[in-house]
Symmetry: C2
Subunit: 680 residues, 2 copies
Amino acid sequence: MTTFNDIDRKAINTIRCLSADGVAKANSGHPGAPMGLAPLAHVIFNNFLNFNPKNPNWFNRDRFVLSNGHGVMLHYVLLHLFGYDSMKMDDLKQFRQLGSRSPGHPEAETDGIEVTTGPLGQGIANAVGLAIAQANIAATFNKPGFAVSDNFTYSIFGDGCMMEGVASEAMSLAGHLQLGNLISFYDDNHITIDGDINVAFTENVLARLEAYGWHTIWVEDGDNDLEGIAKAIEEAKKVTDKPSCIKITTTIGFGSKLAGTHSVHGAPLKADDIAQLKEQFGLDPTKSFDVEQDVYDLYHAKAAKGASAEESWNDLFSKYSAEYPELATELQRRIKGELPQGWEKHLPTYTPADPAIASRKLSEILIGKVFDALPELIGGSADLTGSNLTRYSKSVDFQPPSTGLGDYSGRYIRYGVREHGMGAIMNGISAYGGFIPYSGTFLNFVSYAAGAVRLSALSEHQVIWVATHDSIGLGEDGPTHQPIETLAHFRALPNMQVWRPADGNETSAAYYKSLTNKHTPSIIALSRQNLPQLEGSSIEKASKGGYTLVEVENAQVIIVATGSEVGIAVDAAKVLAEQNIKANIVSLPDWFTFDQQSEEYKLSVLPDNIPILSVEVMTTNGWQKYSHQQFGINRFGASGPAPEVYKFFEFTPEGIAKRAAATIEFYKGTPVRSPLKTAF
Amino acid sequence: MTTFNDIDRKAINTIRCLSADGVAKANSGHPGAPMGLAPLAHVIFNNFLNFNPKNPNWFNRDRFVLSNGHGVMLHYVLLHLFGYDSMKMDDLKQFRQLGSRSPGHPEAETDGIEVTTGPLGQGIANAVGLAIAQANIAATFNKPGFAVSDNFTYSIFGDGCMMEGVASEAMSLAGHLQLGNLISFYDDNHITIDGDINVAFTENVLARLEAYGWHTIWVEDGDNDLEGIAKAIEEAKKVTDKPSCIKITTTIGFGSKLAGTHSVHGAPLKADDIAQLKEQFGLDPTKSFDVEQDVYDLYHAKAAKGASAEESWNDLFSKYSAEYPELATELQRRIKGELPQGWEKHLPTYTPADPAIASRKLSEILIGKVFDALPELIGGSADLTGSNLTRYSKSVDFQPPSTGLGDYSGRYIRYGVREHGMGAIMNGISAYGGFIPYSGTFLNFVSYAAGAVRLSALSEHQVIWVATHDSIGLGEDGPTHQPIETLAHFRALPNMQVWRPADGNETSAAYYKSLTNKHTPSIIALSRQNLPQLEGSSIEKASKGGYTLVEVENAQVIIVATGSEVGIAVDAAKVLAEQNIKANIVSLPDWFTFDQQSEEYKLSVLPDNIPILSVEVMTTNGWQKYSHQQFGINRFGASGPAPEVYKFFEFTPEGIAKRAAATIEFYKGTPVRSPLKTAF
Ligand SMILES: [Ca+2]
Ligand SMILES: [Ca+2]
């Protein structure tokens, strides 16, 4: 049994006071959660968490996620006390200041922070992803006597997280997957921003988690009962076939005059309150940002233990390398994030002689060809496997072995109808390292996961959305399923690839860039309907994000299009040719990648002195960046067979040709500047 | 006790065969759920649901929501059999065809369909909104002896809905709110698209709902036990302080050779399967779309009962009108959706002499002034009341009276941290009629509710999002909370107002248009920081969506901006004036409204022959529609005090002036056409 004494309590109170100091100096932030959670955090970090502050990226470290990210000062204080280089005392003093390493919510770029949290519900869902990743690595690489992967994932979440749907989705799946390596803590402090949780949140949290298949424990006095907390964690570690949730009843802002009220949730403590706090805890009320040496000593001793734990692991890994050289090399490669030599040779290429194929099907073919070559791929779908075509026929499902449906070495996850949870879980898998997660849903329902997609981009997670049924071309399912605004939305997100390939070679390019761009997530929008293999496309050209597909001399207009409209635009050029109008066709499958090309290249594709018409069967918003005139759909779609819907909206060779002619007419006699040219 | 006999079973089998016929004729759709759910639907519609097919909008009708909207053929068949004018036999034959009244998923525009569903999880959350609305109407208008509102809301949902986070959020809140008027049915058919639910969904659904505070019942043989279904509904109706969920174990595609497999989920039955189905059920296998007269007779008798139920209610309402004339008039007004005469006089107006005020605070002042004048307003916040400032100080919370925290006549809902659920619930409240729901969250987290916002726009629900903390101006919370892509996303959504008012008068205009536009939802983006009251703004001008705020003679450039940047742009014009550069300032608070103005008016605001620079502290995507050059932020934001963050990104009078000068320079000697002018 773990025991505690005065130095533990002093350390805990130091955490509380440092947190209060940090928020007060910033004059902004959330002191209540750090003060209430200090005992729990102390026990987790000092008694259980395996980590080495000198190497925050040690692969087999335990992961810690603060899902209630607004309490981040707690985490910064811990990083500081344990001696992370990323968090000096000056960094604590720079909390929430421009350019500091201690922004208002935890961002993964700071060493020691595993994932960016703050948007509620995301962190606990990321934790599920971290646990999935560990289970898969262990099942793939561990050998008798060589537990090269055995880390746990610990996560604290609050009432806010538990109310968010994304958490519900991820936690339900975690229960199904029997993730015994996930230990979470529900900060039961009875307070949210609106006041007592009685105003909105009266469900029985543990009963709900039990319904999801979780193991649950309750520590009634989270303010003082350190032994109880330790005992609960020991128990949770022993339950290997269920994720655990330990409910810790705490007092928000413990020690403050306003303890237990929502006044300490999101506003700094007043100076006199901080003074009485320190006095109450036997600390010097005249000092700010003060840590006594014995507290540093305690935590640095633990840090040293962590360093030696890593050393032991390195020894183990050396022996493992001798015994299992191929596995060891492979694991090292994956940890480094390097793709296997020559993998890209498996990318399929096509010629115009090949048949028309739906791009979702092209994606399936591609996945089938690269899946064995890229063991870091871990796929899935939000219950649309047969529609998204995301599953390689020989892949094994990631499932608890007891289900008989797969095992933990499987690389295909049945996410269920849980798009938002899926997105957040992919972020967690990506954050673990050694994986490139991809998953399918209909493009329209990527929007359900907008919160997670945004964090993929912000945190630079390499995750791939296989977004099929990408337009009105899905037909009969109708406007509830037909994206109009979706691409515009995600194209407006910084650091986001949004591919819409037009044929087989472009689909290969989309995957090539998505698989090689380590710090940028991707959405690959794919058609339900068949698309012809285009004359002039190639992986190399499409990998530039945009290129001239059809070029004629003295062209009078450029038609720029994406995906299923490119082939129709090619046919429109033929209609125009019959009218003696010359048109070039540009395919622009990914704006993000195109924007990164040289000015010279971009202007060669979209030059001066020629009007440009964009064609895409959804909103025209944003297309003005690359065109002078836009043909799109600025209304909701329609339910009907796809060819009829396309005809209704005039996305036919004739409909496009008519608008191209009008565009030429409109600019007749007017000098035209490339839309890429800007004043500043 | 309700009893059933052969005609009930014949009617049920007729539903099954008609559903199979409809999907087969369309050669697209989902026959499995209608065939499995026919017994339940029969019992609900024929034995319990109060409705009058001759007046689908009778106010006190029971509401029915098919949350698993892909099974919509079931609902269309029922509408037809009960004699709705909106669903003739020919409409069934036109299932999923372009322009038909029977699109692929239920759309509210078809009479008899309460809400648009299909995107999973939304319908059951809408049902929670419908139940909230009823409880509020009843608590507000019912009097002893006059239960003018006593309808129930019935909703069927499937595994897919239960996996979606939006359902979790709404159902947790429904439990807290003790909505005894909500009776839902969980179609436990063990099948989703990926196959058996064992692959992804093994939670205990009823235990989870009990944890939320629901009453639960299980009918084990949903294929045959009509009496059991009826008994369960009777029991549920008696439980008045909890929402009920009746789990019905069914066989998907009952009667088909492929019954019980996911093959009947989303693909038409083959002709021979349909033939054996009809034979099995004693119906004529040579006939399609066939209904025998005794089945019509059965359902038309029930329809007649519904008509007389409405008549009785009309009588009751006449007597109520005599006894409580004011209440009756008020309820009638609200049902019609007419605002009270003169309400708009309560909208505050401002002059430049008034102090600078954050627009979230301007919103609070406005809500305080109109709340009593507009009893149809029902507000709320996703646990950010103190930040969104959405609560009128004198309002009562909508709470179960037993909590002591409010009562059901209250018009302020504590939604908890449940943005997506909140959006879907607002859609339900709006669909009920008699309400204009509004709710607050940070603008960035409206994205969590993207699925529901999209359906607001598609279904033309008048709901209002009070979206505060609308930019990098929120400061220290940092990039996880600072919107960049959010406005671009929602501006790309058809039928969506996206307001970003610059001062007090514009805030009043935003609300004026949001409150008077009955068929278009709104997002009102509001600042955390103070904004000056602008010279030249007015409710009337801003109500056009865009207008010239500052006009000088011979202007060389127009700066078009929104919200917090308008005031800075005005100061930029002063900086430019010092350099002898003349600039006009256009404020464009809502693109949607501006787009609806006359060409002439729009061109007077954004005319030919003058370069236009847009200024907004987020993505520039989309601004090309209204400007030639764009100043924005095409990266994520930064954590720091707001003024420093603005300075960092150069959104200062000087930073804007510099770019305005560059814009003039860029177009020198080039003819400039208004960006509003298009080739087609
Ligand atoms: Ca809390
Ligand atoms: Ca099901």
